[in-house]
Structure formats: C-alpha cells, structure tokens
Symmetry: C4
Subunit: 214 residues, 4 copies
C-alpha cells in the first residue's frame, strides 16, 4: 500500500489538474458567449420601447405594429437556438486555441448584430424597403450558420479540439446536421425577394422547429 498509494495519488492529482484545466479553458469561452447571447436576446426589447409612447387608441396602434412584435419573437427564438446549438457544440469541445476563439468571435459578432436587422425588418416589413430589410435579416442568419460551420469544422478537423469522449459517429452526425442551417437560411434569404413576411416567417419556423426537435 505504501508504495502503490503515492503513485495512484499522483496520477489522480495530475488527472484532476488536467480535467480542471480543460474545463476552465472552455468554461470561460462558454460563459462569455452565453453572456453575449443573453444580452443580445434581452436587448431586443429596446426595439419595442418606442411603441410605448404612441398616442391615439392604444389597442389599435399596438395591433398595427404587429410586424415589430413578429420580428421580436423571430429574433428571440433565433438567439435561443444559437444558444442551444452553442451549448451542444461545446459538449464535444474540450480545448480552445486562438484561431478557434476568433471563429467563435465571428459567431458573437453576428449575434450582437441581430437587434439591428430585427429593427430594420420591423420598421420596413410592410413598406417599399421590405425586400432590402428582409435580405439583411436573412443574410444575417445565413452568416451565422456559416460561422457555426466554421467553428465546428475547425474544431473537428483531425479531432483538433474535441474531447476523447466524442465518437466518429457523433462527428458524422453533426457534419450532416450542419447542412440544415445554410440551406434553411439560404432559402429564407431568397424568399426576401418574394415576400419579406415569408422570409421572417421561415426564419421563425426554423428556429422554433430546431428548439423543439433538435
């Protein structure tokens, strides 16, 4: 016992240190990203605040402002799904490097930008600027799907940043699932030329569908 214990103790201590440092490494990126997602999601309400000072018949004015509420809900579920997706991704990732942090940074850039196309599409959904506004809205989603692909493919290349608990089957499954985003948001962006409302509707449907069944 006297001989075996110290070795086992040392091995345990080293392992504990490795596990702890691994967790810490992704822990701060996850917490930071979650902070950005939570804030971007909560800031969306700023787009609604000007509606609070409307005069006239409040019920009628609020009803006429349905595009603003529609865009708010669409953007909310989009960010909720970004968070859920990020959550799933980081269950597989155990290490980070600065290139990975940069790619994750592009994902955050797209997310912090979301309240702007949301406000744009809320303002112009029913006027002549609707197509351009919906294009910007759809393209933001498309860029985010691209950023997610970049983050994942960089991490998964030769299992660069993955944990040892991730199987090849897990990797294949994610690779397949990651085509849905670009195709879905690409279609939504193209729909902007047909109807701004259909574009925002498809983005919303995609997000709610993903949140419920992914």
């Amino acid at each position: 016992v006297g001989e075996v214990e110290p070795t086992a103790g040392a091995a345990k201590a080293v392992e504990a240190r490795v596990v702890a440092s691994e967790e810490k490494e992704t822990g701060r990126v996850e917490a930071f990203s979650d902070g950005v997602f939570a804030i971007a999601m909560t800031l969306l309400v700023i787009d609604l605040l000007p509606l609070s000072t409307i005069g006239g018949d409040v019920a009628i004015e609020l009803s006429n402002s349905w595009p603003t509420f529609f865009a708010f809900i669409s953007a909310f579920f989009t960010i909720l799904v970004i968070w859920m997706n990020h959550h799933s991704l980081f269950k597989m990732i155990r290490k980070v490097d600065s290139r990975f942090l940069f790619l994750n940074g592009l994902l955050l850039l797209g997310t912090t930008f979301i309240p702007f196309p949301t406000a744009l599409v809320a303002q112009h959904m029913l006027d002549s600027g609707g197509t351009v506004a919906a294009l910007v809205y759809g393209a933001t989603g498309l860029a985010l799907a691209g950023a997610f692909n970049g983050v994942w493919r960089y991490a998964a290349k030769n299992r660069r940043l993955l944990g040892s608990h991730v199987t090849q089957k897990d990797i294949d499954r994610v690779n397949q699932g990651y085509w849905v985003g670009p195709v879905g948001y690409g279609t939504a962006t193209a729909l902007a030329f047909v109807s701004p409302i259909a574009c925002v509707g498809l983005v919303t449907a995609l997000a709610i569908f993903y949140a419920l069944f992914a």
Copy 2:
C-alpha cells in the same frame, strides 16, 4: 485492499463524473437564465432616462412622473421574484432535455418582454390608454405564471427531470403553490378594467409578498 481499492476508486470516479455532468447540465441553463433576468431587471432603468431631460421645475416634473417610478418598482420586484422562483425550481431539477429548454425559453421570452409593458403602463396609466396598457401588463404576468407552470409540470411529470433528493411531499407542495401565480395575475389582469393603478398595485403587492414570505 489491493483488490477492493481499484473498484471503489472506479465507482467513485464514475459517480463523480455523473454528479459533475448533472451539475453542468442544469448549470449552464441556470446561468443563462440568470443572465437574462439580471439584464431585463437592469434595463428597466431605460424607461426612466427620458425623464432626465425634462425642463421646468425638476421637483414638480419628477413628482408628476410618479407612474413611471411606480411601474419601474413593480417590474423590478416582478423580475426579482421570477429569479427567486426559478432558483427554487432548479434546486429540484437535475436533468434537462430540449423540450424543457424550450419551455424555459418561453419563460425567458416573457421576461425579456417585461420592459415593454412596463413602459406602456408608465406612459398610459393616467390617460385613456390605461386599461389596454394595464391589460398588457397583467397578461404578461399571467403568461409568465403559465410558463412557470409549464416548466414545472413538464419536469415533475413522472419525476422526469427531478433529482433523487426530491420527495413526493416536495412535489405536492410545489403543485399547490403553483396555483397562486395564475390566480393572482388573473385577478390583476381583470382589475385592469376597474383601475389600471389597482392592476399595477396588485402585481407589485404580489411580488413583494412572495419575495418576503415564500
């Protein structure tokens, strides 16, 4: 010892991994939700900022703006209680699944929305839009009470997501307590037709009462 120790060691390691993964699973949802609650609560002050540029006699103008401060305090305690309630709920929950994350997402949607009905009721409490504004304010509280019930009942059904430390008595007690929210906010919403001030007052009283005695 040589034979027993490794087995015990392995069992401990597995248990530690289970406990750790369980904590991580709810940990990120709790941290994310807390982030949304903290931001929604702190953003309420944006509704007050336009008052800072008022001209004339500052003391008189601020006094006349009491509905804005009243709505600010009402919404603050409402979000504080949402946080406390969420805190209590997650003491019993040890696992999450995507349906649960969606229901929790509806809770967050309602919370991020709060600064809007707050601004609306602050603006219209004393004018002809008061009833509609108070209806929206009360209905937001009612929807949040509904979302809390959804989150809890989904988690508790057949003890689906509960930890093994939760007793049937705990579950029964929560089931009973969760009728208070819908009844209280339902009454507040109905009060909007009588008096917008009474509606906001009841929401505030409910929140402070819950915060002090729950």
Copy 3:
C-alpha cells in the same frame, strides 16, 4: 480498514455535499448580483450617447458637456465600490434565506436605479434644477448605504448567515466600517443645497478613496 474506510468515506461525502450546497447557495446570489452590477455599470454609457450626435465644433461641444462625463465617472466608481463591498461581504456569508434575498434585492433595486440620477445630475448640474438633481443623486447613494447596512446587520445578527470562519473581531470591524457609508452619503446629500458639483465630487471622492484603501 474495511470498517473504517466506509465511515470516513461517508463522512467525507456528507461534508462535501454540505460544502458544495453552501457554496451553491451563496454562489447564485453572488453571480446574479454581479450580473446586475456589471450591467448597471456598462449601461451608464447610454447617458453619453446623445453627445455623439452634436453638431458644431465637436471639441468645444464635448468640453461644454463635462458634467456628463463627470457624472459618468462618479457613477462608475460608485458601482465599482458597490461590487467590491458586496464581494467583501459575501466572503463572510455562507447561507441565505428569503428575507436576506429581499434585502439584497433592495440593494440591487438601488443599483439598477443609478443610471437615472446620473443622467439627471448630468443634465441639470449647471442649471436651476441642480439642487434637486444632486439631492436625488446623493439620496440614492444614501439609500444604497442603508441597504448595505440592512443586508449586513440581518446576516450578522446572532451570526445568522455567517460562516464559521468569521471571528467576532471581523464582525466588530465591519460594524464600525459600516458607519462610513451613511455618514459620507448623508454629508454628500446635504452638500446638494450648497453646490451640486460639490455633492457629486464628494460621492466620487468617497468611491475612489474606498476603492483604493478599503
């Protein structure tokens, strides 16, 4: 060994669970409060944004807006010190109850309010509304000092929520130090009648002094 180990193991497990639950209990309150402090601090910049759209000579216009920058820095250090103070306080606290959460909630209410008196004092420091604005600014600081006293005295009464590592000497030292806040902010509030600038200056000096030497 066979008899001793399991007992020791059980004792360790129980202790670990106690320690873990204690940490978790205050952990979520601390994290939530820190979130509110960080957001309130970062939102202060919203008071500066209208200055970005000024026309004319930008250098002269910015110089003329010095009260806005002065109030921004004053409020920033005030919130920084609230955070540091809260940090110190929670090193001694190991348990929470709902009354304590309510008192901590009053502290958060005061903190989320800060951007409003900051904007008010920035706007009116040099006009006839300066006294009222500075009174509101000083009184907010005084209320926060009161809330800190409430939180501390509730937790320390009969060592209700303190950890066993806290000595009577620690308690006495905090009791003494907690007179500084009410006296300092009380003086600052009274100074509002003499000079709004002096009031804001004293609040700022108190915060920087505390941050450097406490």
Copy 4:
C-alpha cells in the same frame, strides 16, 4: 495505513481549500470583468439602431452609413481582443488585492466607455469633426493599453500576484508583448490628424491581427 491516511487526508483537504480559495479569489473578478466585456460588446448595436428608421431607399441609405458599420466592427474586435488579453493575463494571476482591483477597474472604465467614442467616430468620420472624434477613439484605445500595462506590471512586480506555475520566461515574454499596445494605439491616435478613417482602420487591423495571431 491508519496513521498515514489521516495525515494525507488533512494535507489534501488543506491543499484543496487553498486551491479552491485561490480560484475563487480571481474567479469573481474574471467573471465580473467578462460580464462588463460581454455587455459593452453587445451594447455597440445601440449605435446602429437609429439607422433602422431611415426613410427613402433603404439600400442606398444603408450604404451611405458605412462609417457606422465600420466603427461597429472596429469596436467589436477591440473589445474581443480586450477579453482575450484579459483571459491570457488571468491565467498567470492567482491572487488579488484592492489596488489590483482598482487598476482592473480602470480597465473596465475604459471598456464601458468604448460605445461613446465609437458612436462619435461613426457620426463624424466624414465631417469636420472627424479629427477630434478619431482622436477620442484612438486615445481611448491608448488609455486601455495603458491600463493593461498597469494591471500587468502591478501584478508581476516581485511576482506579487502571480501563481507559482508562472516562469520568469513567461514574465519576460509578456513584458515584451505589452509594448505593442501603447505603440500601436499611439500610432493610431497620431493618424487621427492625417485621416480619421486611417485611425479607425489601424485600430481595427491591430485588433484582428492580435485576435488571429496572439
């Protein structure tokens, strides 16, 4: 075994307590700072929101507003790099004291300020206020580089707050790297006199270069 185990257990327990308290000490500062970085980064979008209400041809109006998007991206990467840099720094720091918290507070002050010079430079990049706006923008970056140097040099002096895992070689490498910030931002600030666009461009290039290769 009976004699050795308790001693080893006690030693382990003490070590665990030391490690845990060390982690906790920097943990809360890191989490708080990360919160400020995440919020400042996400608030930048507020500078874009007024563009959503523009009339006329939306595509042309958005194109004409390119300085606003340019400043948004520049500030985003600046804050991303502040976060990454802070992250690297805290890998070496294991203790905090109140002087260190104050210096870190100056870093946070500069960071919360960033949305203002960003809005200023977005508004005035192409008009006669461009030089002053770019000066404020560059000087903010320079002040932040100074604050980073202050934080690091205070922590590293006689290894005051460093962990025992940090080698002299690590310290020397950081000392060298920390000249890049003041020189780079000093050059950017000087460029404001030549061209506001060049100033913002250099700040952006520095941030992206650091994010990719540091």
